[in-house]
């Protein structure tokens, strides 16, 4: 297993021309990926006068976090100037219940599909799988009508429900595949001992679910935080998530455009998923692999 994880490329010789070429390519590619982030950070630290005069990568004469604090508490969307912190709070309010609900529902569905042969279960799973690939635009208008009819359109409940709905295919796939890979004897033994559906889930399956729950949390936290279209459509004005507000801040062009504030707001919006990515490292890649290679 560990041998298979080793790099399988040809063994390096001395520092040859081709070796240098490898590093030149990698460093050049790194520049392509890093320079936009670098330009964004620099811009957010410069006053507008320096932005107008200098170029993207010119270092600020006197770095200032003024734009960051303006972005956080005074950036304008239309006529309201309460900063991106409003969107941040909304995103947190949406994120926590949505992550919990979508993972709980996915784990329950995945568990039932992996260990029980319920009639129609395979059909449900098949439709979920196909549904995961279909753009939201195909479902979104009828859902808006249905949500309005139930009375949860434009509410926090509505956006949490919609995240649970659209998180269901992938969460189900993730948990079903993981549970299918567990030794079935554990399940059978618990069953012989007389444990029921929930008993087995609670005492046998959930204690073994930590790795897959971590993967699911990473996927859902980044996915739901980065969502734009669902928040835009279902959350309502009072609950607009940070991505929607950020887009409005940048689109608001009353008075002079403040690129420093725009960039600071952009960094603040990207901060959470970026931090999750940097901290989680291999787990993030595992999540992608679970979705891409198995799924």
């Amino acid at each position: 297993m560990s041998a298979a994880a080793e790099p399988a490329g040809p063994r390096p010789r001395r520092l040859t021309l081709s070796r240098v070429g490898v590093y030149v390519f990698l460093v050049g590619a790194s520049a392509f990926f890093l320079l936009p982030l670098w330009a964004m950070v620099l811009t957010s630290l410069k006053p507008m006068s320096e932005i107008q005069q200098g170029d993207l990568f010119q270092l600020p004469h006197t770095p200032t976090f003024a734009a960051w604090s303006r972005a956080w508490s005074h950036a304008c969307t239309g006529l309201a100037c309460n900063g991106i912190s409003v969107g941040f709070a909304n995103s947190v309010k949406i994120l926590v219940p949505s992550v919990v609900a979508s993972i709980a529902l996915g784990a329950l569905t995945g568990y039932a599909l992996a260990f029980y042969r319920v009639r129609g279960g395979n059909l449900v799973f098949a439709i979920l799988l196909v549904g995961a690939f279909i753009p939201y635009q195909v479902f979104i208008y009828p859902l808006v009508r249905i949500f309005a009819w139930i009375g949860i359109y434009g509410t926090l409940t509505g956006i949490v429900v919609i995240h649970s709905i659209f998180g269901l295919p992938f969460m189900t796939l993730l948990f079903r595949n993981y549970y299918s890979s567990l030794p079935r004897e554990l399940f059978n033994a618990a069953r012989v001992d007389g444990a029921g559906f929930l008993g087995i889930l609670r005492h046998v399956i959930l204690p073994m679910s930590t790795p897959i729950v971590i993967v699911a949390v990473i996927l859902q936290v980044t996915g739901i935080w980065n969502d734009f279209i669902l928040g835009l459509t279902f959350a309502g004005l009072a609950n607009q998530p940070m991505t929607v507000q950020l887009n409005n801040v940048v689109a608001t062009t009353q008075g002079t455009v403040e690129y420093d504030v725009d960039m600071a707001a952009t960094i603040l919006t990207a901060a959470l998923p970026l931090a999750v990515y940097l901290v989680s490292g291999r787990w993030f890649v595992r999540g992608i692999a679970a979705g891409a290679v198995k799924g």
Partner: protein
């Protein structure tokens, strides 16, 4: 088996399965209402004359002929076709190269991997705004290159009707090629070390091994990556909204945005539904065969 025995067995089976069936109920409702119900309702509305509110009259294929007479939609399909081909080819190529070069037992491998994949953790809105700033016609890359001494350098694709789609490609490739790299790297790590020894003994050039031996074995992973990229092409909406808002003019409009605009901005529910149905048909035609082979043929649904 007596009838009493089989009845008892049936009851026992029911007792065993009932909780599981109950647990699957929410998923079944989601499937019925959202994935089947809403989809059918959208398709049904595409044959109506709904404007601001849904009506269930029958207008035949009127919306579809209207759709293909609408310049904004026709151009949207052309933009997405161009974007799709370039984005998928460029992301696969760059992702493959990144994976191969990272696989050369380089130092700081983890650092390079982290750098190449981090844009994938950020939203399309952030990606769009970053690149909108990088490509700013006056203050962006153009000014930077001019400051390096190339006084007549111009780079204003983002405000050029004929070139703006390419800027969307640049931003999307930046965001997604790390994903391709991560998928392919997993595949490269699975290549047998014996294979490398064999090609070395035969003195086959490394690039030749990658091209003729490794690339074909990565086929399934390349397909997976291509499908994932294709799905994100169909969904392309946030990036356009953040980066160009469909402009200049309608030169970077895309179908997903056309649909949203007609549903929620222009009160053309039936027209939006017709466009959404077209999108659905296209996605199913592309992804359907892949889902079938990947999940139902090879492994069977019940793994």
């Amino acid at each position: 088996m007596t009838p009493a025995e089989s009845a008892a067995k049936f009851r026992a089976r029911l007792r065993n399965q009932a909780p599981a069936a109950l647990a699957l109920l929410p998923a079944a409702i989601v499937v019925a209402v959202v994935y089947v119900g809403s989809m059918l309702m959208t398709a049904r509305l595409s044959f109506s004359s709904s404007h601001m509110l849904p009506t269930f009259d029958w207008a035949g294929g009127e919306q579809y002929s209207r759709l293909f007479d609408t310049e904004r939609f026709v151009e949207s399909t052309q933009h997405i076709a161009l974007f799709g081909v370039l984005f998928i080819v460029a992301s696969l190529t760059l992702g493959f190269l990144l994976a191969v070069f990272i696989d050369q037992k380089v130092r700081f491998e983890a650092l390079f991997r982290t750098i190449f994949l981090y844009p994938f953790s950020m939203s399309f809105i952030v990606t769009g705004l970053v690149w909108q700033w990088m490509l700013h016609p006056e203050l962006g890359i153009e000014k930077t290159v001019r400051a390096w001494g190339f006084a007549h350098f111009t780079f204003r694709w983002i405000v050029d009707e004929n070139l703006v789609v390419y800027t969307l490609v640049i931003a999307a490739v930046w965001q997604a090629s790390g994903l391709v790299m991560a998928i392919l790297l997993a595949g490269l790590r699975g290549v047998d070390a014996e294979l490398w020894k064999a090609t070395k003994i035969d003195a086959i050039p490394t690039w030749r091994v990658y091209w003729s031996v490794i690339l074909p074995t990565l086929g399934p992973m390349l397909t997976t990556a291509a499908v994932l990229l294709a799905v994100s092409v169909a969904k392309l909406f946030d990036l356009v909204v953040a980066m160009t808002r469909g402009g200049p003019g309608i030169s970077s409009e895309v179908p997903a945005k056309f649909i949203m605009d007609n549903f929620f901005g222009r009160s053309n529910v039936a027209l939006g539904s017709a466009a959404a149905t077209m999108l659905l048909v296209t996605v199913v035609a592309v992804v359907g065969p892949w889902v079938y082979f990947e999940h139902f043929r090879r492994k069977g649904v019940r793994a």
